[in-house]
C-alpha cells in the first residue's frame, strides 16, 4: 500500500527533485506550485504527508499551512516544511501555523525520506 505525498514548491527544479526522490522511495507523489494551488490540489485528495516550501508566490507556506489546518479533514495530516531558511523564527512561525516538522534545503534525500517515514502514519 503506497503512501501519497503532496509537495508544494514554486521551483520546478525542486519539484522534480522531490518527485524523483519520493518516487524512488516508493511513494506516490502529488505536486502543487504554490499555496493556492496546493489547497486546490488538496481538495478531494488525502495525502499521507505534505511537504511545503515557505517562500512562494500567491500564497506562501505559512498561509498554506494555516489553510490546511483550518480544514478539519486535514488537521491530522503531518506537514513538513522544506526551506532554505533555517532561522529559528521562521521555524517557529511555521510551527505556530501548524507545521509538524522541517527539513533544511538543500535536502539530503535520505534525511528527507527518514523524516517522512517518521511522520507518515
Amino acid at each position: 500500500m503506497k503512501k501519497t505525498i503532496l509537495t508544494v514548491d514554486d521551483s520546478r527544479t525542486m519539484r522534480e527533485m522531490l518527485k524523483a526522490t519520493l518516487l524512488g522511495a516508493g511513494y506516490e507523489v502529488m505536486q502543487a506550485e504554490d499555496g493556492v494551488h496546493g489547497l486546490e490540489v488538496l481538495e478531494g485528495a488525502m495525502p499521507d504527508v505534505i511537504l511545503t516550501d515557505i517562500n512562494m508566490p500567491r500564497m506562501d507556506g505559512f498561509g498554506f499551512i494555516e489553510g490546511v489546518r483550518r480544514d478539519s479533514r486535514y488537521r491530522s495530516v503531518p506537514i513538513l516544511v522544506l526551506t532554505t531558511e533555517g532561522e529559528p523564527e521562521k521555524k517557529d512561525r511555521a510551527r505556530r501555523a501548524g507545521a509538524t516538522g522541517w527539513i533544511v534545503k538543500p535536502f539530503d534525500p535520505e534525511k528527507l525520506i527518514n523524516a517522512i517515514r517518521r511522520l507518515a502514519a
Partner: protein, 741 residues
C-alpha cells in the same frame, strides 16, 4: 544519474526564467512601477536559484546567490531602502548572476575575481543596511543543525561505551496539546523507536479525565519506554526532533557496568529539557489494546484516504513542457497534411466533380480544418517577445555605461507573440540596433541639455501585430541621422557618385549598405566590423523588412516587419518560362498588364516601366534566373510591382499569374543547397516543387546583370563587396528617368 541530469537541465531553464523575473522586478523598482509584491518576487527568484544550486553542489553559484539574497532580504524586510545606487548595484549583480548561471551551465569556470568583487559590493550594501537596522544579516542556517551535537559528544565521553555495544534506554514521553495540533502521532513515534531495537512500552493514563470532562483534542497520555538498542542516543533524539517543544521527553541510559551516575545524568538531561523527571505509573495490560485500536483505526483511515488521493492527480498542472523537436515534427506533419489536402482538392477539381457535391463540400471542410490545425500548431511555438526585450535592457545599461551617456529604455507590447524561431534570431539584430542608437544616436548629456532636451536619452522598443506580421520598432530621441556626414562618407567610400541627387530617405538608407560606417573612430561597442547591412541581412533572412525614418535633432526610428512564423507564407504563384515560382505576397504592391508605350530601354538589358508618372526598373525574372537568354516581350507578360527594403520599387516581369495561396516553406538549403535569388521551396497541390523567390536577392542579381551588360567598370564577383556600388548606382538610376518625362 539520468534523472539528475534531466533535473539539472530543468534547473538551468528555471534559472533563465528567474533571471528574467529578477531583472524585470529590479527595473520596476528602479522606475517606480513596482507593486508591493515585486520585491518578494525578486527575492524569490534569487532564493530559488540558490536553492537549486545548493542541491547540485554548485558552490560558486550558491555563494553569489547567498550574498545577493542577503541584501535583498534586508530590502524586503524594510531594513534597507533601495536607493538608486543600490538598485544599480543590484542590476549589475543580476547581470553577473546571469553570466554565472550561463557559465555554470556550460561547465565553464567563472572569473572568480569578478564574482568576489560583486559579492563584496553586495556585502557592503548588506552591512550598511544591517548596521543601520542594528541587526545581523540572516545567516543562521549552519547553526540550525547543531542543536544536539554537544550532548552527543559529551555523552560518548562520559559513558565511554563503544557504538557497537547494546545499550539500554529508559524514555519518558509526554505529549502536550500542541503535539496533536501539529498532526503528530504517538503511535508513529513508538513504531520508530521500536525500529531501533527491542522495546517495551507502558502507557501512563493517570491524567486521563472522565469521559464527560474529556477534551477530544486534549493531551492526557504519557508513555514510558524501555529500549535495548545498538544505536546511540542521537538516533533516539532524531525521532523526537520535531516535537521537542510539544512534549516532555526524558531519555536516560541505564548503566549496568559502567561507573556512571545515572541520577546526575538524568538531572543533566532534565536541565537540558527544563523539566523534572516525571514518575511513571504503568498500566500495562491496556497499553497493547490501545495501540491495537489506534492501529486499526489508522488502517481504515488510510484506506479511505488512498481512494481520495487518486482524484488529486488529474488536477495538478495546467501546462506541460514539451520537447521542441516534437513540436517541430508536428509542424512538419501538419505542413504535409496541408500539402496533401491541396493535392486532393486539385485532383477533385481535375475530376470535374461538382462544387456542390458532398465530396467537394467535405473537402472544403477539410481545408478549413487543416488551416485551423496549422494555426493552432503554430500557436504552440508562439512566444511573447518579453524575454528578448528584457535582455535589451541589459544591452542599454552596458552601452550607456560604456559611452558615459544616460539612457532609459521603454518597452511597449512585450506580450506580442512571435514564433520562437523568429524570436531567437532577433537578439543579434536588436542588440546591434540598440547599441547603434546609443553610440551614434543619443547625444552626450551636455549636448542634449544644450539642445533643450532632457539629460537622459530615451529608447523605445515596441512590438505589435499588423496585418499578419509582427512589427518591431526601435526608436531613439537622439540627434537623428546626420545626412551631411552620411552623404560625404558614402561619397568618400565610393558608394555613390558625388553628383548623385538623393532624397533624405535615400540618404538615410545608405547606412544599410555593406561596409558603411560613419563613426570617425571605431568604438568598442558598435564598431565591431558589422554594420547595419548585417542587421538588414539577418532581418531579411527571417523574411522580414527593415526601414528607417529619421528627423534631424529629434531622433530615428527603425521599423522591422517580420513574418509571424517561418513555416508558412502567403505567396502569389506565377509562371515564368514554364517554371512555377512563388512571390511572397508581403513584397507585392500591385500587378498590372503593361502596354508597350510604357516601357523604356535604358541601354544594354536595362529597361524601365512607367507606372503612373514614376519610372521603375523592369526586371525579367526568367532572364535573371537563367530560364531564358532573351528578354521577354512585356506585351505577353504581367508586371508584378514589388517593394524592396527601404521602399525602393521594382517591376518584375512574369509570364502569367496562377493565383494566390498559402504555402508551406521547405528549406532549400537543408534539402539541397543555397541558391542565390531563391529563399526556399514549397510543394504545390499537384505535387510539384516550386521555388519561392527572394525578391531582394533577385533584384541584386539583376543589378549585376544589368551592370555587366552595360560594361560597368566594376568587379562582378557577386560577393558582398562588389554589390555595394551596384546598389548605390541603382539609387541613382532609379531617379534619372524622371527628367525624361
Amino acid at each position: 544519474m539520468d534523472t539528475m541530469a534531466a533535473i539539472k537541465q530543468t534547473f538551468f531553464q528555471e534559472c533563465e526564467e528567474q533571471l528574467v523575473e529578477l531583472e524585470s522586478g529590479l527595473l520596476a523598482l528602479e522606475d517606480g512601477t513596482s507593486e508591493p509584491d515585486t520585491i518578494n518576487a525578486v527575492f524569490r527568484a534569487v532564493h530559488s536559484i540558490k536553492g537549486g544550486a545548493g542541491a547540485f553542489g554548485l558552490e560558486q553559484l550558491v555563494r553569489f546567490a547567498h550574498a545577493f539574497e542577503t541584501a535583498l532580504d534586508l530590502v524586503r524586510g524594510g531594513k534597507l531602502t533601495a536607493t538608486r545606487a543600490i538598485l544599480k548595484t543590484m542590476l549589475s549583480a543580476a547581470d553577473v548572476l546571469a553570466d554565472l548561471v550561463r557559465i555554470t551551465r556550460e561547465d565553464g569556470v567563472a572569473d572568480d575575481a569578478e564574482i568576489t568583487r560583486m559579492v563584496q559590493q553586495l556585502e557592503a550594501i548588506s552591512h550598511g543596511g544591517a548596521a543601520a537596522a542594528g541587526s545581523q544579516p540572516a545567516d543562521a542556517e549552519p547553526a540550525d543543525d547543531l542543536d544536539f551535537v554537544p550532548i552527543q559528544i559529551s555523552l560518548a565521553d562520559l559513558i565511554g561505551a563503544g557504538p557497537s555495544g547494546t545499550r539500554s534506554f529508559k524514555i519518558r514521553f509526554e505529549p502536550k496539546t500542541g503535539f496533536y495540533a501539529r498532526a503528530n502521532e504517538p503511535l508513529v513515534m513508538l513504531r520508530e523507536i521500536s525500529r531501533l531495537g527491542a522495546m517495551r512500552v507502558t502507557c501512563d493514563q493517570t491524567r486521563l479525565p472522565s469521559l464527560t470532562e474529556l477534551d477530544p483534542e486534549g493531551a492526557y497520555l504519557a508513555w514510558e519506554i524501555h529500549l535495548d538498542t545498538e544505536s546511540d542516543e542521537s538516533a533516539l533524539r532524531d525521532i523526537f526532533e520535531f516535537v521537542e517543544f510539544d512534549c516532555d521527553i526524558s531519555i536516560e541510559e541505564k548503566q549496568v557496568e559502567a561507573d556512571f551516575d545515572t541520577d546526575a545524568f538524568a538531572q543533566l538531561m532534565s536541565l537540558a529539557s527544563g523539566q523534572t523527571p516525571p514518575m511513571a505509573q504503568p498500566l500495562e495490560p491496556r497499553t497493547e489494546q490501545i495501540a491495537a485500536e489506534i492501529a486499526s483505526r489508522n488502517e481504515s483511515e488510510t484506506a479511505n484516504r488512498k481512494s481520495d488521493a487518486n482524484k488529486g492527480f488529474n488536477q495538478a498542472g495546467a501546462t506541460i513542457r514539451v520537447d521542441l523537436e516534437r513540436v517541430e515534427r508536428l509542424i512538419d506533419l501538419v505542413g504535409e497534411l496541408v500539402i496533401n489536402q491541396a493535392m486532393l482538392s486539385q485532383r477533385v477539381a481535375e475530376a470535374r466533380i461538382a462544387r456542390s457535391s458532398a465530396l467537394a463540400m467535405g473537402l472544403d471542410e477539410l481545408e478549413q480544418l487543416s488551416r485551423e490545425i496549422q494555426d493552432s500548431v503554430m500557436a504552440i511555438r508562439a512566444q511573447p517577445v518579453k524575454p528578448i526585450f528584457q535582455r535589451m535592457s541589459r544591452v542599454v545599461r552596458e552601452a550607456a555605461d560604456m559611452t558615459g551617456k544616460s539612457v532609459t529604455l521603454h518597452c511597449d507590447g512585450d506580450s506580442t507573440e512571435v514564433d520562437k524561431t523568429v524570436i531567437e534570431r532577433l537578439t543579434d539584430p536588436l542588440t546591434h540596433m540598440i547599441r547603434n542608437a546609443i553610440d551614434h544616436g543619443i547625444e552626450k548629456p551636455e549636448v542634449r541639455l544644450a539642445a533643450g532636451k532632457p539629460e537622459s536619452g530615451h529608447i523605445r522598443l515596441a512590438a505589435m501585430h499588423r496585418s499578419g506580421r509582427v512589427v518591431i520598432e526601435v526608436s531613439d530621441d537622439g540627434g537623428g541621422i546626420n545626412r551631411e556626414r552620411v552623404r560625404s562618407a558614402a561619397i568618400a567610400k565610393g558608394l555613390i557618385e558625388p553628383e548623385a541627387q538623393l532624397s533624405d530617405e535615400e540618404i538615410d538608407n545608405l547606412i544599410f549598405l555593406p561596409g558603411f560606417s560613419t563613426a570617425a573612430t571605431v568604438t568598442d561597442m558598435s564598431g565591431r566590423g558589422v554594420g547595419m547591412d548585417v542587421v538588414k541581412r539577418s532581418i531579411q533572412a527571417l523574411g522580414g523588412r527593415i526601414s528607417i525614418a529619421s528627423t534631424p535633432g529629434r531622433g530615428s526610428t527603425f521599423v522591422m516587419s517580420l513574418p509571424l512564423t517561418l513555416a508558412v507564407l502567403d505567396g502569389m504563384i506565377v509562371s515564368v518560362a514554364d517554371e512555377t515560382l512563388i512571390v511572397p505576397l508581403t513584397a507585392i504592391v500591385e500587378t498590372l498588364k503593361p502596354s508597350t508605350g510604357d516601357i523604356y530601354h535604358m541601354g544594354g538589358d536595362s529597361r524601365v516601366i512607367r507606372i503612373r508618372d514614376t519610372f521603375v526598373p523592369l526586371i525579367d525574372i526568367g532572364h535573371v534566373l537563367g530560364y531564358r537568354n532573351k528578354l521577354a516581350d512585356p506585351q505577353n507578360c504581367v508586371v508584378v510591382l514589388i517593394d524592396l527594403e527601404g521602399h525602393a520599387r521594382r517591376a518584375l516581369l512574369v509570364d502569367t499569374i496562377q493565383g494566390q495561396r498559402q504555402v508551406v516553406i521547405k528549406s532549400l538549403e537543408a534539402n539541397y543547397r543555397r541558391v542565390d535569388g531563391i529563399a526556399a521551396a514549397t510543394i504545390l497541390g499537384d505535387g510539384r516543387v516550386a521555388l519561392i523567390l527572394d525578391v531582394d536577392a533577385v533584384v541584386e542579381n539583376a543589378n549585376g546583370k544589368a551592370a555587366s551588360s552595360a560594361s560597368e567598370s566594376l568587379d562582378l564577383d557577386h560577393d558582398t563587396h562588389a554589390r555595394a556600388p551596384q546598389r548605390a548606382h541603382d539609387f541613382a538610376t532609379e531617379l534619372e528617368p524622371e527628367p525624361v518625362e
